[in-house]
């Protein structure tokens, strides 16, 4: 278990990167706490796996340093960093039994056999493959194989960190929940530093204390699920987190008043906008009140998803989503008001605060 420092890390896959666009991973400079559960969330190709492989040592960063508990490990091998990693697709040793597969990382490190047996039994119980212990791993189904991969990642008790690279992709939805809550329990019990890569926001938000949102090779925000929801610091976070995502509307800002294509809203603060920046207003569908007062909207569609209704509407010539409670009425001449506390202002896609 270790605190992980990423010290001005950058990575390019090609040789001699020149412009920032050549970098698959733009500058990352962060400290990750010992014993934290982090989720790396972002769309495919945003650099999540690159960052993960840099932490595990499978990849050498082009620039920057990695420190575990203050010790520089940039030039150390994966084995010396003492990292466990679980990959997206199952990796099993065909010719070994399920038991031997799980014991493999321990035996390679010369752990005493009684301790190996204790750890393997514990993990095999957890992943629910006790009955298969003596069977060859070859004939198992894909999700059983992935459980073995997962088990091999968890079997060592002394690791600096456990990294997961979308480990539940091949597992069926019900089992996903079970395994995720077991991981969570394991994290609470042993306090491993865990980093979990995923493109599934539910997975990220339920697993992690802190979610690291990545976009286009950059970390755009690190925060608790609540922070990401209420104060997305980049329009991408607003759009990516939440279902439906945040409404982002082009806006003209003048002091503390906002002009949304003719509709004026007064802010409780005066954001300081850099000159020439593209300004936008962000408001989550949950914080828009649909009623008989406020600004007019045209409703185009209502989607009933059980406990809530999602109203698709046109507001100031822009599409907008509004979440209405299942009993909420939809007036014939609908108007909307925004919860002032939930309004975020963005300049060139980045959030500007009151002090900003």
């Amino acid at each position: 278990m270790a605190r992980i420092n990423l010290d001005h890390i950058r990575h390019a896959y090609g040789p001699n990167p020149k412009s920032p666009a050549d970098y698959s991973l733009k500058e990352v400079h962060h400290e990750w706490n010992d014993g934290g559960a982090y989720a790396l969330l972002g769309p495919s190709g945003c650099g999540k796996t690159t960052l993960l492989n840099i932490i595990s040592g499978l990849l050498q960063p082009s620039e920057g340093k990695i420190l575990f508990d203050g010790k520089d490990v940039t030039n150390l091998s994966t084995q010396d960093r003492n990292i466990a990693q679980v990959f997206q697709f199952p990796v099993i040793y065909d010719t070994m039994t399920v038991y031997d597969n799980l014991a493999f990382p321990l035996r390679n490190r010369k752990v005493a056999e009684p301790e190996v047996d204790r750890r393997v039994r514990e993990i095999i119980e957890m992943i629910g493959l006790s009955d298969w212990a003596k069977k060859k791993a070859q004939g198992l189904t894909a999700d059983q194989k992935q459980k073995i991969s997962l088990g091999r990642g968890l079997v060592r008790s002394d690791v600096s960190a456990i990294l997961f690279d979308e480990p539940l992709t091949v597992i069926d939805p019900h089992m996903k929940w079970v395994l995720r809550s077991q991981l969570k329990r394991l994290h609470k019990q042993f306090g491993f530093t865990m980093v979990y890569v995923t493109h599934d926001q539910t997975e990220a938000l339920t697993f992690a204390d802190k979610v690291v949102v990545m976009y286009d090779g950059e970390i755009v925000q690190i925060g608790t699920p609540a922070e990401l929801f209420e104060r997305p610091s980049h329009t991408f976070v607003g759009y990516f987190i939440g279902s439906p995502g945040m409404n982002v509307l082009p806006a003209r800002i003048d002091g503390s008043s906002v002009d949304l294509d003719g509709q004026k809203i007064a802010l409780s603060f005066a954001p300081k906008i850099p000159a020439g920046a593209k300004t936008e207003l962000g408001i989550r569908p949950e914080f828009i009140k649909l009623g008989r007062e406020g600004m007019p909207v045209t409703i185009s569609k209502v989607e009933d998803i059980g406990r809530q209704k999602i109203v698709r509407a046109q507001f100031a010539n822009r599409p907008m989503a509004i979440v209405v409670h299942e009993d909420g009425e939809i007036p014939s001449e609908p108007r909307v008001t925004f919860d002032p506390a939930a309004i975020n202002i963005y300049a060139d896609s980045w959030r500007v605060g009151a002090e900003g």
Partner: protein, 288 residues
């Protein structure tokens, strides 16, 4: 799903049936024909029953040649398979080295067999051959013409030079199909180089190795051209394999009956051994 029965399909496979009949079945049946009859020419045949078969099976000539075949195949398999794996493991995985290595590896396979024989026949000659002359100059006694051991060494080295590439290419294809994640996981699990080979590479190469093993066994068991060119079966009968013996019997002595019986026995031995190897080597898969 509803199957449509259509007898026209037979018509479609007819060309293949005709081809197989003319290339395999009919020639084989003529051999069977010769093996149970005696002939003195003029197209006169006398029924001989199984006497040719008993003759062959009771002759020392047959058993000696069979032993030589088994020894030769055993030695070259024991060398070519591990050597092929070793070379494949050390071949470059990417870059310019890949095509260069592949072409170099494929070269010996492209040379006609009798040319391979001639190359080594000349190469090993004590008077003009590079190898033979060099050995003589270094004071090492080497002469494949009159020394049994030297003749065997020459044939074995030649076969390794000629055919190890086949094992290499097959193994290399097997290795190339292993996803990177396996090697990454092995690093994470702290596996040694040996463990990576034993638990990842070898299991993934198993199928191609089976093919390599069977091909090399069958080919080496039927070896004819190269020993015929290099040693002509000598010194004495030291390199007279079943194939050479067969040709001597059939064409040298014109004993068509015994030769036909020997061919059939030879064919059955190869078939039987290949089947045994195949069953034994695929059996471990079936146990799970």
């Amino acid at each position: 799903m509803q199957k449509t029965w259509n007898n026209k399909a037979w018509f479609m496979v007819l060309p293949v049936l005709v081809l197989v009949a003319f290339s395999a079945v009919i020639p084989l049946m003529t051999v069977v024909n010769y093996s149970v009859q005696d002939t003195f020419g003029n197209n006169e045949f006398f029924w001989a029953g199984t006497s040719w078969f008993t003759d062959v099976l009771q002759s020392d000539r047959f058993w000696d040649a069979l032993q030589r075949n088994l020894l030769f195949s055993g030695i070259i398999l024991a060398i070519e398979i591990p050597l092929g794996i070793l070379i494949a493991l050390n071949m470059p995985k990417k870059g310019l080295g890949v095509p260069v290595c592949l072409v170099l590896m494929a070269l010996p396979l492209l040379i006609p067999w009798n040319v391979v024989g001639t190359i080594w026949q000349v190469f090993g000659r004590v008077d003009i051959g590079l190898l033979g002359y060099t050995m003589a100059a270094l004071g090492i006694e080497y002469n494949y013409v009159n020394n049994v051991f030297d003749a065997w060494v020459t044939l074995i080295v030649m076969d390794i030079w000629h055919w190890t590439s086949l094992v290499v290419l097959l193994c290399y294809a097997g290795l190339a199909s292993i996803p990177d994640a396996y090697y990454q996981a092995a690093k994470i699990d702290g596996a040694s180089r040996w463990a990576v080979f034993r638990y990842i590479q070898l299991p993934k190469m198993k199928r191609v190795l089976l093919i390599a093993f069977l091909l090399r066994f069958m080919d080496s068991f039927m070896i004819y051209t190269e020993p015929f060119v290099i040693t002509g079966g000598g010194p004495g009968n030291a390199t007279t394999f079943l194939s050479i013996d067969l040709v001597k019997t059939a064409i040298g002595q014109f004993d068509l009956g015994p030769a036909a019986a020997l061919s059939l026995i030879y064919f059955l031995i190869i078939l039987l051994l290949s089947w045994i190897f195949y069953t034994v080597m695929t059996n471990s898969d079936a146990q799970n």
